[in-house]
């Protein structure tokens, strides 16, 4: 009984901050791994309390709750990530960081505002899921992997390349460089010779105006 009262007391402290609770709920719906949620939100509460809270949120939102066990969330083997992951990573990182200041407000001492970063990560990931109409469980890049890819980018393990064919900036891994652009691979873009505008064959012929220009 005393233990239960203690949990309720701790929960009420948690629920007192609506902003913190909103962020926790958003993360819990994207990843149910207790250690990941704790690490991302800098929580110091005990695991049981966090797990209970995650289960409650999943139940409230009618999401099947499967608390993962086993390998830690921070294991990242860059060599094993294929073009599909690189494609998704390019979209996610471009969305996360595409503004003059990366959208990150700085703290008084000049460091990155952690809460702003988490909010932007949640937004970018949700936007990615909505764009391709993916449920969380079927996404090729999980929220945990997105977080790890961001950390890899921060530590310089992800390099940035620009495709000469479609001018996309895409992620490349320092340990497993690929010269192929994942965007071109996924979209099957026509290859553009440097001398003239190419055509999309099979019904996408070059327009007469362009053909005239090429001929000139």
């Amino acid at each position: 009984m005393a233990g239960q009262n203690k949990t309720i007391a701790e929960l009420s402290v948690w629920a007192a901050d609506p902003e913190k609770m909103y962020r926790f709920e958003a993360v819990a719906l994207l990843s149910q791994r207790t250690s990941f949620v704790k690490s991302l939100l800098c929580l110091t509460d005990n695991d049981d309390l966090i797990r209970t809270q995650i289960q409650r949120i999943c139940k409230k939102n009618e999401v099947p709750c499967k608390i993962p066990r086993g390998t830690g969330f921070d294991a990242l083997y860059l060599k094993s990530l294929g073009p599909e992951i690189r494609y998704a990573a390019s979209i996610l990182l471009n969305t996360l960081l595409a503004s003059d200041d990366g959208g990150l407000a700085t703290t008084v001492i000049g460091g990155i505002n952690h809460q702003s970063l988490v909010d932007r990560m949640i937004y970018s990931y949700r936007r990615y899921l909505r764009l391709f109409l993916l449920p969380v469980v079927d996404a090729p890049v999980s929220f945990e992997l997105f977080f790890n890819l961001y950390k890899a980018y921060e530590s310089g393990n992800i390099e940035i390349s620009m495709c000469a064919n479609c001018e996309s900036t895409f992620t490349n891994f320092r340990v497993a460089q690929s010269i192929k652009c994942p965007v071109c691979q996924t979209h099957r873009h026509a290859e553009m010779p440097r001398t003239h505008l190419p055509s999309y064959s099979q019904g996408n012929e070059i327009e007469p105006a362009v053909r005239r220009r090429v001929a000139m």
Binding site: Y87, S90, I91, L93, N94, T95, L96, L97, A98, S99, D100, D101, G102, G103, L104, A105, D119, R120, Y123, S124, R127, L131, F132, L133, I160, M162, N165, C166, E167, S168, T169, F170, V183, T186, H187, R188, H189, A190, M192, L197, Y200, G203, N204, E207, A209, V210, R213
Partner: protein
């Protein structure tokens, strides 16, 4: 928060008049006044109307505020005294683009700052300036004779998005996001 339809509408509303001016040769020699490179002029003017509409049909904004944050903040607080009447069609087009883009960012900032930062690429300083602005400030800032808006994707986006009929809207959005010239790299 602006939804995907609003963004698509903005793209359509701004890209088609630019394209029309380019193909009618009214702006081709003055393309620099629209902040366009010769290559982007070449690619855009080589598309037909269906293709340009296809290229504009994506959920990522194709236009961004290209002036530095402090310039935009100053323009928003400058007042109506320094407004300049448009000189020609191109000036009118620039003013209209300024107004539409500023108004949409202003509406977005009022509802979700994170959305404004991630989708429209606004810096924290511009967000603060827009939060304090009124509708008259927006109208006045767009009439200062300064072009505030540039094309966000690089030139080859228009070629691939316009001509490749296999691309779905989600793919065009992904391409626009990845080929954005304001990306972090």
């Amino acid at each position: 928060m602006l939804n995907d339809r609003d963004i698509k509408e903005e793209n359509d509303q701004l890209l088609v008049p630019r394209w029309r001016m380019l193909i009618e040769q009214r702006a081709k020699t003055d393309a620099m006044r629209l902040g366009m490179t010769p290559l982007s002029v070449e690619y855009i003017s080589s598309l037909d109307e269906i293709q340009i509409k296809r290229a504009s049909d994506c959920s990522s904004p194709l236009f961004y505020l290209s002036q530095p944050s402090d310039v935009i903040a100053k323009l928003l607080t400058a007042g109506v005294e320094s407004d300049i009447a448009p000189f020609d069609d191109l000036d009118r087009l620039v003013q209209n683009e300024n107004y539409v883009v500023l108004l949409n960012r202003w509406a977005s900032v009022k509802t979700s700052v994170v959305h404004a930062q991630c989708t429209f690429g606004l810096s924290a300083a511009v967000v603060r300036a827009l939060q304090g602005a009124t509708i008259n400030d927006i109208k006045s800032a767009s009439q200062k004779g300064i072009r505030l808006v540039s094309l966000a994707p690089r030139s080859k986006y228009f070629f691939h998005a316009g001509r490749n009929i296999r691309l779905q809207r989600s793919m065009r959005t992904a391409l626009a996001v990845c080929s954005s010239s304001r990306a972090f790299f």
